[in-house]
């Protein structure tokens, strides 16, 4: 059972991807959603990290999810989800779960005119389509246990560490389900 954080942003696209893969899932909007369901994995979707962060901190979900992540629940963070997991954000003081040893730069590829589509090699999967929307990148890796999975123009755009998998791009926006499959298979 995979829980998808459903406070704001592109959560329904992740739910559709999981549905296509035949994986049971549910939306997490408040603590009751976590009480009602057993949880084997967590997805932090794209959206605005400041909005999702604000809603997290106000709903009491923050501490609960933070504990789950620290206790090793598998978690996939895409775009804003990557920002929520980072221990450091280069161009913002607001920090959230601070669980992954990476420094992230927000909107690193620029505003909407800098958004783009690409096909790049993803370690362990191969070449896949990737949609970058006002996307961040990983500016710095701060621990040897962080494994780089994908680069774009030299910048790190996907990585994993322990129970965490993060991407700058949005695997939920293309029809290619391989990143979700990779998450389900290897975490």
């Amino acid at each position: 059972m995979i829980g998808v954080l459903a406070l704001q942003g592109g959560f329904i696209e992740h739910i559709h991807a999981l549905d296509k893969l035949g994986v049971a899932n549910f939306e997490i909007r408040d603590l009751n959603d976590l009480e009602r369901n057993s949880l084997d994995g967590l997805i932090l979707p794209g959206g605005e990290s400041t909005t999702i962060g604000k809603l997290l901190c106000n709903s009491g979900l923050f501490q609960r999810i933070s504990d789950l992540i620290r206790n090793g629940i598998p978690v996939l963070g895409t775009c804003a989800g990557m920002i929520l997991l980072a221990k450091k954000i280069i161009n913002d003081d607001r920090l959230y779960f601070q669980s992954m040893d990476i420094s992230v730069k927000r909107n690193a590829f620029g505003r909407q005119l800098g958004s783009f589509f690409a096909i790049e090699n993803f370690e362990g999967i191969g070449k896949i389509p990737m949609t970058f929307i006002r996307a961040p990148w990983i500016e710095q890796i701060n621990d040897a246990s962080v494994q780089i999975l994908c680069r774009r123009d030299g910048h790190v755009v996907a990585a994993r560490q322990k129970n965490m998998l993060v991407t700058s791009f949005h695997p939920e926006l293309t029809n290619d389900l391989s990143v979700h499959q990779y998450f389900l298979d290897t975490f």
Partner: protein, 290 residues
């Protein structure tokens, strides 16, 4: 064009479940961002003041828009007059994240909308029914919002527009395939767009509510009627306690099906914007641009 259009629709997808707030200064933009807005609309005067001031209202000063771009990290939108493609070129030049070709400003063209397919930057447009929405989409809009009636604090028109749009969508879903051609003719749109609605039961782009949202309950009402997010114009910065009201509306949009929580959010918000009933206004902005 096609890839760019997909990316522009994708940005709207990331705004879903969020609140886009009108702001007139960097300070207001920061209040909006801190309250949890997923984007801001930069403009010199909010709709209620445009309505009060009368006269011709135009695109805002690019310098003021740039200051807001520098003040916040969330996407920044700005309005151009209907049909004024040079105002749109200017906003594209300063790398705006979304252009609202808006009936709130005085129209520059009473026949033609902007050919939005000629731009790399995305457009959101207002609509009062499905025909208007699909016509804007065929011109290249990558996001739609109801028109409602801006600057009134009266939700009735946004409700009317969302109900019309959703009921037309449901009707098309239930039609036989051979009836879709006639529907396309009646709506003055292409068969492909009508077929998309028939198969998917939704617009091919994200659809927000706008025009008259003043309270957390208004925002939740629009979400329950089928909006995927909400624009709030005058409702926040014309109210007694903008920061608190903004935050309450953001939470209400996320938890639109949780009346217990919305009850709490609605407490002690201070004065709502005064509001004007639809019978009391001379100028119906929603009648601009069909």
């Amino acid at each position: 064009m096609n890839e760019r259009y997909e990316l522009n629709k994708n940005l709207a997808q990331m705004l879903k479940g969020g609140v886009i707030m009108d702001v007139t200064s960097p300070e207001q933009a920061c209040i909006a961002e801190n309250a949890g807005a997923c984007a801001v609309m930069a403009l010199e005067r909010i709709p209620a003041d445009i309505r009060a001031a009368g006269g011709v209202s135009r695109m805002s000063d690019p310098k003021m828009i740039r200051e807001i771009q520098q003040a916040v990290s969330i996407p920044v939108m700005a309005k151009v007059r209907i049909g004024h493609f040079v105002e749109a070129q200017i906003l594209e030049a300063i790398e705006i994240d979304y252009i609202d070709e808006s009936e709130v400003l005085s129209p520059a063209d009473d026949i033609y909308h902007i050919d939005k397919t000629k731009f790399r930057v995305p457009f959101v447009c207002g609509a009062k029914d499905l025909g208007e929405a699909l016509r804007r989409i065929s011109e290249g809009a990558s996001m739609i919002r109801t028109k409602g009636e801006p600057g009134t604090g009266d939700i009735i028109q946004a409700v009317r527009h969302m109900r019309i749009m959703m009921s037309q969508i449901r009707q098309i879903q239930n039609q036989r395939e051979d009836e879709l051609f006639q529907t396309a003719k009646e709506l003055q749109v292409s068969c492909e767009l009508v077929q998309y609605v028939h198969q998917n039961g939704k617009l091919p782009v994200v659809n927000f509510a706008a025009g008259g949202v003043a309270t957390p309950a208004d925002a939740a009402l629009m979400m329950q009627l089928g909006a995927e997010g909400v624009f709030v114009g005058s409702g926040i910065f014309k109210s007694g306690n903008p920061a608190k009201r903004a935050e309450a509306i953001v939470k209400s949009v996320t938890n639109f099906n949780n009346p217990g929580l919305i009850a709490q959010l609605s407490e002690d918000l201070g004065e709502a914007m005064v509001g004007i009933n639809e019978q009391e206004i001379d100028l119906l902005m929603a009648e601009r641009g069909k």
